[in-house]
């Protein structure tokens, strides 16, 4: 038994230990530089979107990987590059969407080698957990579709198929992957080793909701912001519970993918 037979550490490591500060600073600088160049007319507007995807999601993924790999930043740098390539490819050609498969494949490869166990990846696929996650995502997504169409006047299913596919690829390869890896796999898992699960879930979910509320892609109408905060709070808290219950990040990934698929079906007026 651990309490009898293992030395007890005086205090746990700091919450933000192994954060790749230099890489994050470089990404922030790159994003700001791209914004300046776009504002100056030296680069097209799409360049800012590419830089935003690479810097925003790349920062989350690189931080999650660095925490899981004991401070190693090289895999994170590779993923940032892959995200930039995927965003560029998706904007250049319809088949470029396939490039969004790159980041999940790299993460899956690292997980298969057992290097991402700290994130809840690599311990096999909990089929019941994934099914529960998908059901939860479907429940929240279904509710979103019903209440959005009934109360907010949001049109459901009006988005063109190509655009919808692009959004789904973006969610699978960047948005959901980065958010779940960081907010659940890294932040929640690390926080619950220091504080009670409820406190850790509150921290993780609060940061998760904040991340989407400051996202420039979110329409800024009050109803949509409140609705997004409501559903993302439920989704974040539920995914924390799924990770805690199953020990795996996969159920949370399934739930978020299904929910965001429903989200993408909504087309704001």
């Amino acid at each position: 038994m651990w309490a009898l037979e293992q030395p007890c550490p005086e205090r746990p490591p700091p919450l933000l230990a192994d954060t790749p500060a230099a890489l994050l600073a470089a990404l922030a600088g790159a994003a700001l530089g791209a914004a300046a160049l776009v504002a100056g007319g030296w680069l097209p507007g799409a360049a800012l979107a590419v830089a935003g995807v690479a810097a925003g999601h790349g920062a989350l993924l690189a931080t999650a990987l660095a925490w899981a790999l004991g401070g190693r930043t090289l895999p994170g740098v590779g993923l940032v590059a892959l995200l930039a390539l995927a965003a560029l490819a998706a904007r250049s050609h319809p088949l470029g969407l396939l490039a969004y498969a790159g980041p999940p494949l790299v993460v899956a490869r690292l997980a298969a080698r057992g290097r991402l166990a700290a994130l809840g990846l690599g311990g096999g696929v909990p089929l019941r957990g994934v099914a529960a996650g998908a059901a939860l995502g479907a429940l929240l997504g279904g509710h979103l579709l019903v209440s959005a169409s009934l109360t907010l006047g949001v049109a459901v299913g009006a988005r063109p198929a190509g655009e919808l596919l692009g959004a789904l690829a973006y969610d699978a390869g960047a948005n959901v992957l980065a958010a779940e890896c960081f907010f659940r796999g890294a932040l929640f898992a690390r926080a619950q080793r220091r504080w009670p699960a409820a406190g850790a879930a509150a921290l993780s979910t609060g940061a998760y909701v904040l991340r989407y509320l400051v996202d420039p892609l979110l329409p800024k109408s009050v109803e949509l912001v409140v609705g997004a905060a409501f559903y993302l709070t439920l989704l974040g808290a539920a995914n924390c519970w799924l990770l805690r219950r199953s020990g795996s990040l996969l159920p949370g990934l399934a739930s978020a993918l299904v929910f965001f698929a429903a989200w993408r079906l909504c087309d704001a007026p």
Binding site: M1, L4, C8, H143, T151, A189, W195, P196
Partner: protein, 495 residues
């Protein structure tokens, strides 16, 4: 299987009930103010009563989620109408009811679990014969009750008893709690994707830390449960202390019973030995008395030639001396049993001359035994009572003659040994078994397989030992069955 299926069935029933109510509410023309909205209270209250705070909150959340589109669409359509406000109040009531009833249920269950745990502690400790047994039973009962890994450590004097592990590693959480006497919560014990909570609380009895209770579990170990565990630790401490005292009392009682049984057996043995002694001593006393009686009658009734009278006189003198020795032995033994030291008249004794005289007498008494004497030259005189020394040597040489076959050699040696003289009497007789060797100096003891012909009261060696020790000397007996026996007496020389 049944225990897992029952909650799943209950959850499915609740979900179906909520969906059915929502369908009814959506179709009701009164909208959010329809009476059917109150029916949401039933599944929510059921979930709260059945599954506690988590079930109540989740059911209330689900009910609010399902009812909200009806209420919000009414607000969207007509603003904050009376119906919409009623619907909003219903949403609030549902959320509050699920959470509060669930919290109350969880609290009541915790109280029940705490009471049951206390009863389990009492049951586990009651009837345990040893502290180790009590600790093991207590650990099993607590692990079952708490649904967690449990270890217990209890101090019993200088030793630490551990149940649920091999030992307490220095620097471990348990070692720290034992050292500080303060509870310790570790939110992440060990590695793994799911954190394992560990809580260690001291076991306290009479204001002293007598051990520690460690609980480990994957999942929650909240503040309320930790406070309950602290209280449980105090109860367990008192229960274990009582068990320890009861076990000690039981051990003392067992030891006392064993000692009483042993003493009783010994007294019975002594009683038997004394009875045997009386019989043998009577015989020993009767033999010289009979001789004295017979020869004195002959002298009184018959006219005998002077040579014959002299011979009878020597015989009577010898028997009288024998009688005197027996009486002296009995007196010394009596003094010994009263805790008194035999009275000695110490003087300087020439050991070589004394040995020669005694051996000469014994040679005449037992002509069939060759007795060899070897005294080292220049031995210092002994600081001893001559009469006592004569009795010591007569007893030892007499035993050697008595317990060895006719014709076998008996040797008597005297050597300087430190500040004294060692007298060694050795025979080539049947020897003494190891079990009997340890007891031959006990009064009235006779080895079970002692030669039947060699009669004795079983007091000779006891008297010898008492006399030797009264001189400040030592006696040692070595024997190999079938080979012979060697008695070594060391007595102090005149300083």
């Amino acid at each position: 299987m049944r225990t897992r299926a029952r909650p799943a069935l209950a959850v499915a029933t609740l979900a179906l009930a909520l969906l059915a109510l929502t369908a009814l509410l959506a179709r009701d023309p009164d909208g959010p103010a329809a009476l059917v909205r109150h029916a949401y209270l039933l599944p929510v209250a059921g979930a709260a009563l059945g599954f506690g705070v988590l079930g109540g909150t989740l059911a209330a959340g689900a009910a609010v989620l399902l009812m909200a589109p009806v209420v919000l669409s009414e607000i969207e359509r007509a603003g904050l109408t009376t119906e919409a406000i009623e619907g909003l109040v219903s949403l609030g009531v549902l959320a509050l009811l699920g959470t509060l009833v669930g919290a109350a249920t969880t609290r009541a269950r915790r109280e029940l679990a705490r009471s049951e745990a206390l009863v389990a502690v009492r049951r586990a400790v009651a009837g345990a014969a040893t502290l180790e047994g009590a600790l093991g039973r207590l650990r099993a009962a607590l692990a079952r009750r708490l649904d967690a890994d449990v270890a217990l450590v209890a101090r019993d004097g200088a030793r630490a008893l551990v149940a649920g592990g091999a030992r307490v590693v220095p620097g471990s959480a348990v070692a720290r709690v034992l050292a500080t006497g303060r509870p310790l919560f570790v939110p992440a014990a060990g590695g793994g994707p799911r954190p394992r909570r560990a809580f260690v609380t001291p076991l306290v009895a009479e204001a002293a830390v007598i051990g520690a209770l460690a609980v480990e579990r994957e999942g929650g170990l909240g503040g309320g449960e930790r406070a309950a565990l602290e209280a449980l630790g105090a109860h367990v401490g008192v229960a274990l202390e009582n068990a320890r005292l009861a076990a000690r009392q039981r051990r003392f009682a067992d030891e006392l019973a064993a000692k009483v049984a042993s003493a009783t057996a010994r007294l019975e043995e002594i009683d038997r030995a004394k009875s045997a002694f009386v019989a043998i001593a009577s015989h020993e006393l009767r033999t010289p008395l009979t001789a004295l009686q017979g020869f004195s009658e002959l002298l009184a009734l018959r006219r005998l030639p002077p040579a014959e009278v002299a011979r009878f006189g020597r015989i009577m003198h010898g028997e009288a001396r024998r009688l005197g020795r027996i009486v002296s032995d009995l007196l010394d033994l009596s003094r010994r049993e009263q805790g008194l030291v035999p009275a000695l008249q110490r003087t300087a004794v020439d050991v070589a001359a004394l040995v020669a005289d005694i051996v000469e007498v014994l040679r005449r008494a037992a002509p069939a035994h060759p007795i060899e004497v070897d005294c080292a030259p220049g031995l210092p005189p002994l600081d001893a009572d001559p009469d006592a020394l004569e009795r010591i040597l007569t007893n030892l040489v007499g035993n050697a003659v008595k317990y060895s076959p006719p014709g076998s050699l008996v040797s008597v040696r005297a050597r300087r040994s430190g500040a004294g003289v060692a007298l060694v009497v050795e025979d080539r007789g049947r020897g003494i078994p190891a079990a009997a060797l340890a007891r031959v100096f006990e009064p009235y003891y006779r080895a079970p397989d002692a030669a039947p012909a060699a009669r004795g009261a079983g007091i000779g060696l006891a008297v010898v030992k008492a006399l030797v020790e009264a001189h400040g000397g030592t006696i040692r007996l070595e024997s190999t069955p079938g080979v012979g026996t060697r008695a070594t007496v060391t007595l102090p020389a005149v300083p």
